[in-house]
Symmetry: C2
Subunit: 197 residues, 2 copies
């Protein structure tokens, strides 16, 4: 941590954490999740890789910090996943609704969602959020073909976000969580564990 810093920034100074996060955002957006390393972020920020790990943990943790989500989706989804694949569609959907229906969480989430029309934001979602968050969910659930099933799940969840929260199309926007679950949980469960062809 006493290694020479490229920009003369003092490790551990108050702005070091913010500088690391800014470089992480830039690199993840420019190079995608797979093309970005903790070492590369450390070099760009002029600090030692150990300091990045100290502040942010793993590369996945750093990536999620860079996304600035108001919650850690891995923590929120853990109980829904631990109960196994049966009914996981409904359990994950209920977690999702409890987060998105909370006005204080919805606002920053809508900000992240706006990234879908921006090339950098698209890369973060496609090359970062899916492999860092959705991929491990599919594996933890023990799905066959998780690399196909999780993007299918994402396609209906993203469409629901668009109609219920972004466009606020009635009657979907005003449905209770139970009504949304009755309609969408069967779709999500089929994408997770049902026949696809």
């Amino acid at each position: 941590m006493a290694s020479p810093t490229r920009r003369g920034r003092r490790p551990g100074s108050p702005d070091t954490r913010a500088a690391i996060l800014a470089e992480a955002r830039t690199l993840f957006a420019a190079q995608g999740y797979a093309g970005t390393s903790v070492r590369g972020v450390a070099t760009a920020a002029g600090v030692d890789a150990a300091l990045v790990h100290h502040y942010f943990g793993t590369k996945d943790d750093l990536f999620l910090a860079a996304l600035e989500l108001p919650i850690d989706p891995r923590v929120a989804l853990a109980p829904a996943i631990a109960a196994g694949p049966d009914g996981a569609g409904e359990r994950m959907l209920r977690v999702f609704l409890s987060v998105w229906d909370d006005p204080q969480l919805q606002l920053p989430l809508l900000g992240v969602f706006r990234g879908v029309v921006d090339p950098d934001g698209q890369r973060l979602l496609r090359d970062g959020f899916l492999p860092a968050v959705l991929g491990p969910v599919g594996v933890a659930l023990g799905l066959d073909r998780p690399e196909l099933r999780m993007p299918l799940l994402a396609s209906q969840v993203l469409g629901l976000i668009l109609v219920r929260y972004v466009l606020a199309v009635e009657p979907v926007a005003s449905m209770t969580a139970d009504e949304v679950v009755a309609i969408y949980a069967p779709t999500l469960q089929r994408y997770l564990t049902g026949p696809l062809a």
Copy 2:
């Protein structure tokens, strides 16, 4: 058509059509589909309402012209709808894929889709596209609760657009039309005619 024009624009001059379209875009975006009338567009453009009808047809036609879609979705979907509700999910999906998989049509459609993050674009989609295009489809198919079922269909179609075309998430982005149909047609058909609770 020889009525006095508010801005002195000559009816029938080469720029009159463009001026009407520009005013239509502004008014539909600011006031929504329901809040905009052909007469209001005519007044804003300084022409007679009959000239607006002459150039653009009905209010729905004017609205779709203002959206600048590369095709008329009502014309494209007509055969899929005429065959009735059974199998309409698959038939509408095949029309949708034939349009979106065409690179020349996809580019302008992606431009329209970018409107989902813009308040004006959101209003056009929610208050215009749904009532002008999707609403009549649900009625023509004779669905029960078309006002619920068409937004559900839209939620999966929009999510598919996001994953396949906007984010280009694999393997969905590279699937053949038949593979997409095998996965998504059952979802769309359930939203159109299946049990929802």
